[in-house]
């Protein structure tokens, strides 16, 4: 049984012009990229477009990738920059969901109140409640939660992606969990916590 090539190996082959390696890299990171961007924009089509832009930028700058670094950290950094650039150009605040809603960004606001029954049907009730609560967090808290608990990145890796000190990442994670606990408690999922 052969070991699948590492991200760095695929990146090296893709840089040398291998279409198969490029495709393998895209297939490997398609879901993480779309999932990550979706947590900012709450619109699947837009998330796919921005993830695609992210891939384009990644392949354009593949020659600047340092194989000593973890590929996923570099990749998420690029995709995040593409997303933030888009939000800036479209004058959407990245600080709070309320501001997004005020800016008329209906996609982002939609998850604040409820998710569609069809959306919730395919997942557990608690998972649905967690997803709704996640959508209510500040974007900076939301991204550390997704990177840590969905992509399984470590604190130093997240800190590298976001350009923040590791201590700040830990603080954000702590506060994000507290807020999620508070939101879930207020929805009747457990005892209310004082945040």
């Amino acid at each position: 049984m052969s070991v699948p090539p590492s991200d760095a190996e695929l990146a090296k082959e893709a840089l040398a012009g291998s279409d198969a390696a490029s495709r393998a890299l895209i297939a490997r990171y398609a879901t993480p990229a779309v999932n990550f961007v979706f947590r900012f924009v709450h619109d699947r089509a837009l998330a796919e477009d921005l993830a695609q832009e992210g891939f384009l930028r990644v392949f354009q700058r593949l020659n600047t990738y340092d194989p000593e670094r973890k590929f996923s950290s570099w990749f998420f950094q690029v995709v995040r920059n593409v997303t933030i650039d888009h939000l800036r150009v479209n004058r959407l605040a990245t600080t709070s969901l309320d501001e997004l809603k005020e800016a008329g960004f209906e996609g982002a606001a939609a998850d604040q109140t409820s998710s569609s029954p069809e959306h919730l049907a395919g997942q557990g009730e608690l998972a649905g409640a967690l997803e709704q609560a996640l959508a209510r967090l500040r974007p900076e808290y939301r991204e550390v939660v997704v990177l840590r608990y969905q992509e399984g990145l470590t604190h130093p890796e997240i800190s590298e992606i976001l350009g923040l000190p590791s201590g700040t990442v830990k603080t954000y994670l702590h506060r994000a969990r507290k807020e999620l606990a508070s939101i879930l408690s207020s929805k009747g999922w457990g005892p209310r916590l004082n945040v």
Binding site: S22, R23, L56, Q123, L126, T168, R177, S185, G190, P191
Partner: protein, 167 residues
């Protein structure tokens, strides 16, 4: 049911401030949240765009090199043809300008040096008059206070920007 127990465990860990336990329990719980999957054609579409972009960049690079070579060759040819008359004119004009400008340059430099020495002597006398040890000490102290205030302000602004001012 198992999720509910995990939820209770996480909420209890958060309430009692057990950071590691809360982290582990929440990670277990959050694994149930589904990832947002791209459409079935996303990989094909993205791969096609990446390949298309790569081909376009190669074409642009080839065109760029070809254009650079043509321009360089044309420039060299034009330079070779124009070199003889232009260089003679340039050397002649340069010598004329230099020979006319040199006396003026020397005269202005001399005048400037005289003024500089006058200013230096005046400054020296003023410094001797006011630079007593107590005044110098007061001046250094004021500068130190200013530097410290600037450093503290910079730290505060940096913390504020990172949102850590109240941590």
């Amino acid at each position: 049911m198992q999720d509910r127990e995990q939820l209770e465990r996480w909420l209890a860990s958060e309430a009692t401030g057990q950071e590691d336990a809360a982290d582990a329990a929440f990670a277990h719980l959050f694994a149930a949240v589904p990832k947002v999957e791209p459409g079935a054609e996303f990989v094909d579409r993205t791969t096609a765009r990446v390949w298309g972009e790569r081909t376009r960049r190669r074409r642009v690079a080839v065109f760029g090199w070809a254009a650079a070579l043509v321009i360089a060759a044309a420039g060299s040819l034009a330079g070779y043809l124009a070199a003889a008359p232009v260089s003679a004119w340039a050397v002649k004009t340069g010598v004329q300008v230099m020979s006319h400008a040199m006396p003026w340059l020397v005269a202005y430099a001399t005048e400037a040096m005289t003024l500089w020495w006058v200013a230096a002597r005046v400054g020296n006398h003023i410094a001797i008059a006011i630079a007593t040890p107590p005044r110098a000490a007061a001046l250094v102290a004021v500068e130190l206070v200013g530097i410290f205030a600037f450093f503290a302000l910079q730290r505060l602004v940096r913390l504020e920007l990172r949102g850590e001012a109240h941590v």
